[in-house]
Symmetry: C2
Subunit: 191 residues, 2 copies
């Protein structure tokens, strides 16, 4: 699907369930005014007890304004299973990383494929991450605290080539966050 096709369309063109017109409109707007591309996402979190806490996610800044599309916040509980000393009040934080990665690789593949006219009929993925608890426990400084490796297998119903689809998925922001070092600045205040 070329841009000229899109320009001719009177109604929005949708592919893979996403507005292709919307994708090209966004690209055009950002090329014209790069500061529209600046996003700031946010979350707040409150500890409940032990390994259980809850995040709230609602507003963000993007496209030059504060977003108001969400009438209510999303709430997510994080907890741990009994073997990690809590009671499964939610998935645990490292499992949420796998969800974030799966969701982002999938959406990214679907959007970029739509922009290129590649039809996708289905995507299923399986993820696993290996973690040695000795890092978290402070038993060994040589063991990293987080995952040492994550593997993602994506099964896609599409006539697109696996190599192309993989390269499109890897435009994923969460793939970038997890696979590359990122400054994370933590400040702690007590009262």
């Amino acid at each position: 699907m070329s841009k000229s096709n899109l320009a001719q369309a009177e109604t929005p063109v949708t592919m893979n369930g996403v507005s292709v017109t919307g994708i090209f409109d966004t690209i055009a707007a950002v090329k014209k005014q790069p500061d529209l591309a600046e996003f700031r996402f946010r979350a707040t979190n409150r500890w409940i007890s032990g390994g259980h806490n809850r995040s709230s996610i609602q507003g963000f800044y993007g496209c030059g304004m504060e977003d108001t599309s969400r009438e209510k916040p999303f709430f997510f509980d994080a907890s741990e299973p009994p073997v990690l000393l809590a009671n499964n009040e939610g998935a645990n934080p490292v499992e949420f990383i796998l969800h974030a990665l799966a969701g982002c690789l999938t959406t990214t593949m679907v959007y970029h494929a739509a922009a290129r006219g590649i039809a996708i009929e289905g995507v299923e993925s399986s993820l696993e991450g290996d973690l040695d608890l000795r890092g978290f426990l402070g038993i060994s400084e040589e063991v990293r605290k987080g995952y040492r490796e994550i593997r993602v297998n994506m099964r896609v119903k599409s006539k697109g080539s696996p190599a192309v689809l993989r390269s499109l998925a890897q435009f994923s922001p969460v793939f970038d966050v997890v696979s590359r070092a990122l400054p994370v600045i933590v400040t702690v205040e007590t009262h």
Copy 2:
């Protein structure tokens, strides 16, 4: 709280809502048999349409066995707001990264403080991450696709020192995942 106190206790000692006995039992078990520290977490994800997909998280391997503590899976929807071409069917993947990070820093601080006898009465945190959409859109190769920086502010009700609490929080596995590069192996199959 010293280990000798713990050894004398007949009932589990709890601090900050977490079993201190459980923490030291875990450390002792893993020191004796390091392969008990090996965990493998998992998620599966299925695309629904456009920017909307859903993850399922239930079992994992850890402490030398397959965990069976969860009778049902956790389900999480990922989506995008209208400005990113979906309809808020869930938080978006980069927002889930902030939730994972908040939850993990909090739990890690709480557990490590408990092991050191530092009482915590409350934790609230605020997170924000800056992302330039030009990376995702493929407009500029110089702009990274994910966050370029994440800031976390933690407000802790505790007599512990902010510097110590911060160093304890940074044992967090998700802090490690986000702040350091990690191999992420993506395979794509089509059918």
